[in-house]
Each structure stands twice: as structure tokens, then as C-alpha cells.
Symmetry: C2
Subunit: 393 residues, 2 copies
């Protein structure tokens, strides 16, 4: 047993329980009813806001974060010091203009940046939940966000925006709480996870669980960290975020700071060095169990299944304005997954715009400097703002 549990715990994941973010704490009078049937008796949601809510509360935008991002969408990250993950899109004077809109972004339930997740302390035991944390779903994430939005006194969100796992949350919002979503932007996402995506996630989980420092999930208590396993998981996922063309353009078969191969297992190739780096930096900011839970939530997501296999039924009551964006070289969420959403929205008679953007940057494109994404999202948002009666500034 490690004698410095508390120290080693706060040392490793300082943001998990005491985040540099606002906290919405929900006590036993406001439990979270989970899709599994389990009830989370108390929990907290860590969130960031940017800009100001207008007097009639009509300018709120909720940003839903993807798998390994968090609530720090437009401010420097408290662990890495890097700029917020969507500052290309969000900030003062940006497309999602924080001088015009009140932007909210919360860490999902199950996350590790301050919202209750497997790294949080289980009040019943006084120890980290670890695998005693209940398995959560995309719908659970959204239900927790609804409680946060209620707490903030917002009835209808002007827009809910998200990419990848964030896009899944947007779809869930629009289907389960459509009357509270004026407009929805779903980027590089899908209404379900494919067999191939489940396969890649399963490999990541197996890599984490194969690491003896995972300690059957109890690594925080043991004072260890499954760094190697989590790094392999991150490396695997990272390949799926890039296109073959982007990998070829960026790295090709270029050697890393050498002119000849070394005939060894060193990182001779730049792509190897890059992946090792990606794996190493990730373990500094992310909790391994959280990674297991969030990938599981994505695997379980299948919106049509909740509606008898008819995705269009998910949007029957929707009066939301939809914008769906895909990237031509995204093989994690290929364009056909977006087309399935658009087709269902068409069947449901919902207003939807759709753009497939040509790029060779793969799934990652949604986080990068993609002018075509900015201009199309801008056009949609401006149009939605007019429909919402938000004055153009």
C-alpha cells in the first residue's frame, strides 16, 4: 500500500477533484438517473463560460466536447498550458463570438477534468470510484448537461455544437430535448459507432487493462499509473484521427534526425517519433479509467436503436435548425455516417443543411484551421441568429 495516497492522487490528477473551473454540484436531492438503471446519488459538473447571457437568455451556446478534450474550449488548458481546443472557432471576434454569445462548455460526466468520473472520490467509500463508477452513455452526459443548463437558468439554447463524440451529444440533445435546442451543429460525427470504431476502442481498452500498473482499475489508490497502456491506446486512436494522405504528406517515410536507418527498434521514422510523443503527452493530462468509460459510451451510442431502429423517429418532434458537416478524408466518421443523419432529418421533415468539406486532414480536420468549415458554420450561425431574432453586431 502506498502511504501517500492523498498526495499521489492530487499529484497525478489535480484537476479531477479540484478543477480550475466553475462547479455545479448536485446533491442527493438531484441525483443523476443513468441509462443503465443505476442512480448516481450526487455528482458535480465542471464548466467554463465565456461572454455574457443576454437579458432574455436567448444567446446561449453549448459546446459539447469530443473524447479527449474537456471544458477548456477557449482558454489555456490548466495542465498543459496550451490554448483551448477550439480557439480556431470560438473566442472574441471568432465565428462563435464570445462578445455576442454566452458560450458554455462542461466536462462530460465520466470525464477527468472536474466532473464526476471514475477518478472522483466515491462518497460511500472515501476512495476513488475506479471501476465502481457506473458505465455511462451519451444520453447520461446530455442529461447531466441539461441539469447544468437548468442551473444556469437557461431554457432554450440558441445552439448546441459538437464534433465527434461532441456531435453524438448534439444529436442526443436534439432528439431528447429538441424543444430546448434552437439550432444544432454536428461536425465529423455519427448517430452510431461502427464495428471498426468499436474495434479500435477495444484495442485501446485492452492496452490499458493489459498494463499491470492499471491494477484492475485501482491505480490511483495504489499510487501507480498505467502510462504505457494508455500511451498505446492514444497512439492507436491517433492514427484514426489522421488520413493516410495526411500521414503521407506530414511524415511519409522520412527519418527522424538521422540519414540512415539504425537497424534497431529506435524511432527511426518521424511517424514513430510523433506517435510516441502523442502517447507520452496524453498520459500527463488524461485519466486511464476515464478513457475506458468515455470510449465505452461512444461504443454504446446508437440513436436509432432507441427509436425502434428508425433514426428519423429520433427527430419527429424536432423544430431545431440542423447543420451537419463531414470531411472527405475522415475515415473514423466517414461522410456516409453524416448522410445517414441528413437522410433521417429529411424523413422527419426537419430543416437541415449539409456540407462535405474536401480536405486530406482526416477526422482531425474539425479541430484544425479549416477555412471552409469556418465559413460554412459562420453562414449557418448568422442565419440561425437572424431567425432567433438576435441582433447582428
Amino acid at each position: 500500500m502506498n502511504q501517500n495516497k492523498a498526495h499521489s492522487y492530487s499529484d497525478k490528477l489535480p484537476q479531477a477533484m479540484q478543477p480550475d473551473s466553475a462547479l455545479a454540484v448536485f446533491g442527493k436531492d438531484q441525483p443523476l438517473q443513468l441509462a443503465s438503471g443505476i442512480v448516481l446519488p450526487s455528482f458535480q459538473i465542471a464548466y467554463q463560460t465565456y461572454g455574457a447571457l443576454n437579458s432574455n437568455k436567448s444567446n446561449a451556446i453549448l459546446i459539447c466536447h469530443p473524447l479527449t478534450c474537456d471544458q477548456h474550449v477557449a482558454n489555456p488548458h490548466p495542465v498543459t498550458g496550451k490554448p483551448g481546443w477550439w480557439t480556431n472557432l470560438i473566442g472574441p471576434g471568432k465565428i462563435v463570438d464570445t462578445e455576442r454569445y454566452f458560450v458554455v462548455c462542461s466536462n462530460v460526466i465520466g470525464g477527468c477534468l472536474g466532473s464526476t468520473g471514475p477518478a472522483a472520490i466515491n462518497p460511500q467509500t472515501g476512495k476513488p470510484y475506479a471501476l465502481d463508477f457506473p458505465v455511462i452513455t451519451i444520453s447520461d452526459m446530455v442529461r447531466a448537461q441539461v441539469m447544468l443548463v437548468d442551473r444556469l437558468g437557461i431554457d432554450t439554447l440558441f445552439a448546441v455544437i459538437g464534433g465527434s463524440m461532441g456531435g453524438m451529444q448534439v444529436l442526443q440533445w436534439a432528439s431528447a430535448f429538441g424543444e430546448r435546442v434552437f439550432s444544432a451543429i454536428i461536425v465529423a460525427s455519427g448517430a452510431r459507432h461502427s464495428a471498426q470504431n468499436i474495434a479500435f476502442d477495444e484495442i485501446g481498452r485492452q492496452a490499458v487493462m493489459a498494463d499491470p500498473d492499471w491494477r484492475a482499475g485501482n491505480y490511483i489508490e495504489a499510487g501507480t499509473s498505467p502510462r504505457k497502456g494508455l500511451a498505446v491506446a492514444r497512439m492507436t486512436a491517433h492514427i484514426t484521427y489522421l488520413s493516410e494522405a495526411a500521414l503521407h504528406r506530414k511524415f511519409g517515410r522520412n527519418l527522424q534526425e538521422r540519414s540512415e536507418v539504425t537497424f534497431s527498434f529506435d524511432a527511426d521514422f518521424q511517424i514513430e517519433s510523433y506517435l510516441r510523443h502523442q502517447g507520452m503527452v496524453f498520459v500527463e493530462r488524461f485519466d486511464a479509467n476515464s478513457y475506458l468509460y468515455l470510449t465505452r459510451a461512444m461504443n454504446y451510442f446508437d440513436l436509432a436503436a432507441e427509436y425502434g431502429g428508425h433514426l428519423s423517429h429520433a427527430f419527429r418532434r424536432a423544430r431545431t435548425l440542423f447543420f451537419v458537416v463531414s470531411f472527405s478524408s475522415d475515415w473514423l466518421f466517414p461522410t456516409r455516417e453524416s448522410q445517414i443523419i441528413v437522410h433521417a432529418l429529411n424523413l422527419a421533415g426537419a430543416p437541415v443543411s449539409f456540407a462535405e468539406l474536401r480536405t486530406d486532414k482526416g477526422h482531425d480536420a474539425f479541430l484544425l484551421n479549416e477555412p471552409m468549415m469556418f465559413s460554412t458554420v459562420n453562414g449557418f450561425l448568422q442565419s440561425a441568429a437572424r431567425a432567433r431574432g438576435l441582433s447582428i453586431q
Copy 2:
């Protein structure tokens, strides 16, 4: 230290030193000069033969095996008991008819089914080589095969045939020993490994090396086995062997022997169960270090680089008849990699036929029951046999 080294060793990898195959042993008078500059002072090659060499030795076909296969191409595997890995194509009355041709298939140098590799005993230490085994290349594999073919008294091979890593060996044969190759069939392969392929291999290696039972490579001596790491490596590679469409058709989001998800990390989905099974069975028959060395050899392969960046120069002296086959849904070796080979052969003025076969089975198609592959390979072989003056039976 494990007191039963010898026992645990032969128990785990009985085929590595005492294979159920013919052995060609090369002593110190016939060392293997490796591409790295290192000399392997003595070594052995384990091989299988099928059929009989004709009197003028003109009917010999060499089969080059892919990464995780071995010499047991057309007989039951000594460890798994399963049929040979290319019995769809090779055997009595098959396309590669062992009643007509003398078929040879050898375990590559660096392998673990009897040819000298990292699991073999290093004569200088009396212990397994482990990471003291020199890093080998595709050209080293071929040079060892040339010595075997010499030993068998064969001057010119009627055909050299291989898929994937086997196809790389065929290309190396045709470029370095073209005068000894009457015809060459390259299936689902490439003249180089792409950045994405290197990336997936690197993940597999990192997974093996992250397993504490790998023991810095000395697991045989330690009496351990990096089973979990090697299983993760196999699972990762296995995804790249299948197409997204094949995964969707075979598994989709089907659940494994249950009607509801379990809200756990069990293998709820069939694809998860399938991958776990693939990982588990692989570790029973393959050596982890051998996996590191053979993937490294594939990563290093870049035939054009050996000829000043001009792939066509690799085939300048070739009088070989070439047949190149790709599969439309293969994303490990996409059709464009085959087209690069064909283009280079065209530039070199070499006779080449090329077929892209439509299938949704991905890279794996070359090992499966693909009637179009059989008929096109048959057509090419029959035509080559006529050109070679081999009588039609």
C-alpha cells in the same frame, strides 16, 4: 531465475528450434551477409516441399509467406492443427498444382517456426538471441532463400509467389535475382511500407515492449511470455487486414450471445469478442520478438530507395513475367501501391499483367476463397507454363 529454462523454452516455442519441417543448415563456411553489415555466422532455414522436381528442374515454385504465416503453406500446422494457410490456392489439383509443380515454402529468417530468429539459440552465448539477434530486412530474407534454393539444386524458379510481406520478397527476388525468376506473382503488396503501415506496426511493437513480461526481450530465458502485449499487437494488425465493409457485414453492432448491452467492459459486441479471440490464439503460435523483427523488416522495405529513388531501375535487367494483383477494399496495401509497381515495370519495359479485384474483404482477401483471384492467377500461371515449355497435364 527460472530453474527449468530448457523445459519452459521448448514448451513455449517447440517449433522454433526443432521444427516439424526439413532443415537446411548453413555452417560457418556459409554465413549470411545481412543488409545491416552484420554477418550471421551460421543459421538454418526450415522449409516444406510439395510435389516433385522434374528432370530439368524447370517446375519449381517458391512461395514467400506473409508476416504471421510460415512454411506450412499446404499442410496442417504443427501447432494449431489447422490447414495450411494457402490451401485455397496450393495443393493437388489446385491452381498451384503440387502434382505438376515442385512447391517450396520456407520460414523466413527472423521467423519462429524453425528458421533462425530471435527465439533461436545464439551459439556464442548458449541462450536465445532475443534482442541480440540482428535486425533483418526483406533482402536478407531473400538472400537466405537464395541459399536454400541453391542447396536444393534449383537454378531458375518457374515462379515466385507471395502476398503482403510475401509480395515484398517476390519484388526483391525479381530485382536482385531476376535472372533466376521466370515468373513472379505479387498479391496485395507494395514496393514500400506507407507511413500509416509503419504507424500501426509501431503500435504493435510498443504494446509488446510495454508488457512487463517481455523482460526487455529476454522473456524466454525468464520463463515468461508477453502474451497481453502481443495480443494487443495482433488485434491492432487484424483490423488493418479487414475492410470497414467486411467488419460491418460480419459484425456490425451485433451483440455477443446477449440481447442487451451489459453496461460493463465485457465483450458485449461480437467484434470485441472476435478480436480478443484473435489475440489469444495468435500468442499460442507466434514469438513476440519475431513479431518485432518481421514488422521492422517490412517498415524498412523501400525498394526504390535501393535504386536511387527510381523503382523502375529495380527491374532494368528483369526478364521475368510479372502478375500484380490488388483488392479494391485493401487499405493496408491499396491498389495505388500495386499501380506504382506496375508503372515502374512498364517504365522498365518488363512484361506485366495487373488485376484489381473487386471485393469487400480487405487485405485478408488474398488468403480467402476469392474465385476471381484463383482464375486470374490460373490464367497467368498457365500462360507462363506454356512460355516455359512445361507440358499441360
